[in-house]
């Protein structure tokens, strides 16, 4: 299998050097929980994804890594309205 990370436990393939956002979008994933990919340059903070045991990261700035386990921010963590 090609390089992949896990999104909600499902493998998402990526090509080396791609960001998490590019790989998600490439896999047709638009809904990041209640977040979304928006500005592409780390400014809007809309594409935050949760990484087990660490602080959330911007999908659009963070290179994808093999085996990474990612998920949307838990509903409770997402910004409420």
């Amino acid at each position: 299998m090609t390089a992949h990370f896990y999104w909600n436990g499902e493998p998402v393939p990526f090509r080396p050097g791609e960001t998490i956002a590019a790989a998600l979008l490439g896999a047709g994933i638009v809904h990041l929980g209640r977040g979304r990919i928006f500005c592409g340059i780390g400014a809007c903070q809309g594409c935050l994804v949760a990484m087990t045991g660490a602080a959330a990261v911007e999908a659009c700035l963070t290179p994808a890594r093999n085996g990474l386990r990612l998920s949307p921010l838990a509903e409770e963590q997402a910004d409420h309205d």
């Binding site: 050097g17 979008l25 490439g26 780390g42 809007c44 903070q45």
Partner: protein, 428 residues
Amino acid sequence: MTDGPVLVVGGGPAGASAAASLAEAGLPVLLVEQRDALGGAIHRQPAPGHAHHIRLPARHRRNWAALTARLSTTAGRIEIRTRTIFLGVDGQGRFLFDDRAAERVFACRPRAAIIAVGAVETIRPFPGWERPGVMTAGGAQVLLKETGRPPQGPILVAGSGPLLLAVAAQLAEAGNPPVAVLERGRPWRAPGALAQLGLSGGLVGEGLGYLARLAASRVPYRTGAEVTRAEPQGDRLKVVIRTGSAEDVVQVRHLLVHDGIAPNRTGIPLPAPDAAVPVLLAGDGREALGADAAILDGRRAAMQLLARFGRAETTTPAEERGLSRARAVQTALAQALHAEAAPPPPETLICRCEGRSYAELAALPEDASAREIRLMGRFGLGACQGRFCGPMIAALRGRPMPAAAPPRWPLRPVSLAALARLTTDETE
């Protein structure tokens, strides 16, 4: 003054140009860039192994090739740190950076700083702009440049400005032309401004090239048309379009929005060319004039700094003329595309992070201070730190949002653990 390097923040055209100019004059430079490669939004490089699908106009490719050549000639004097995000300046003058690869914040006290962090896109809010599937046109373009892959499914491009054409043409080139491009302005009704633009040469040629590409893919370019609402419908977005008094509806998977660019100044220190540690701004982060001007402006900032250090360096009149020309082009563009903004419906989200609506903004006292807008209104308190809602609020209230004084840091959210691992270049 320390003997340390001059700090250049941002590896786009302005930052690269400033760094090369300083290094050519013999100064050591620390160049930091948030992404894993230099280039900025305009020269976003494809990920390794991806073919370069998106070809920029030849002029831009030549410019970037020249800049990279200059950087490699002076490589011995330039330390480049990628994946490093500028977090602002603390109350004691430390410049702070989030080193994402090392998962650690570091602080340094440079001899001087040139900040070239580019622009952010302006968005005119409408109900639904916060929905998944809505992206900025520039954001989609950056992703497209990285992967060569357009988003899948029907795409609508809407808003205002020349970037709409560029993105739409590049999407067509990459194999997924948008269903339409909607330009809010009515440029054909501003012939004077168009004539002014006609004098600018390269840009108009570029624009015509994009229009030709769109025509070839039968992508309609509709002026005087804007998106008034977007709502989810299955895995699509139902988008309402208004053209004059007529309304129509399209269903798309992606809506790319963009209403121009503005300098990225949120939390950025004020320029202080005469301070003990001089701070200068350069490129679109100083004045949004576009990529060509950014190269000139980076060099201008470097020359200003060298003059401050007692070197007899100046910009050439040709460079100054280049900057004035770019300004004239931007002014003419703004005139050609000007469209009065009506206030959005009350339910429109203004602050996406905190879920605050236009109705809640309008309910604040007329003379509310920036602090009240933040604390009582809960606008600009979220993770984006007001980068998007700040300009919206300024536009809707008809006056700028006063900045927090002193400037707050971190100017981007930062991992708590990384900040706790702070390292400094000081011997304390």
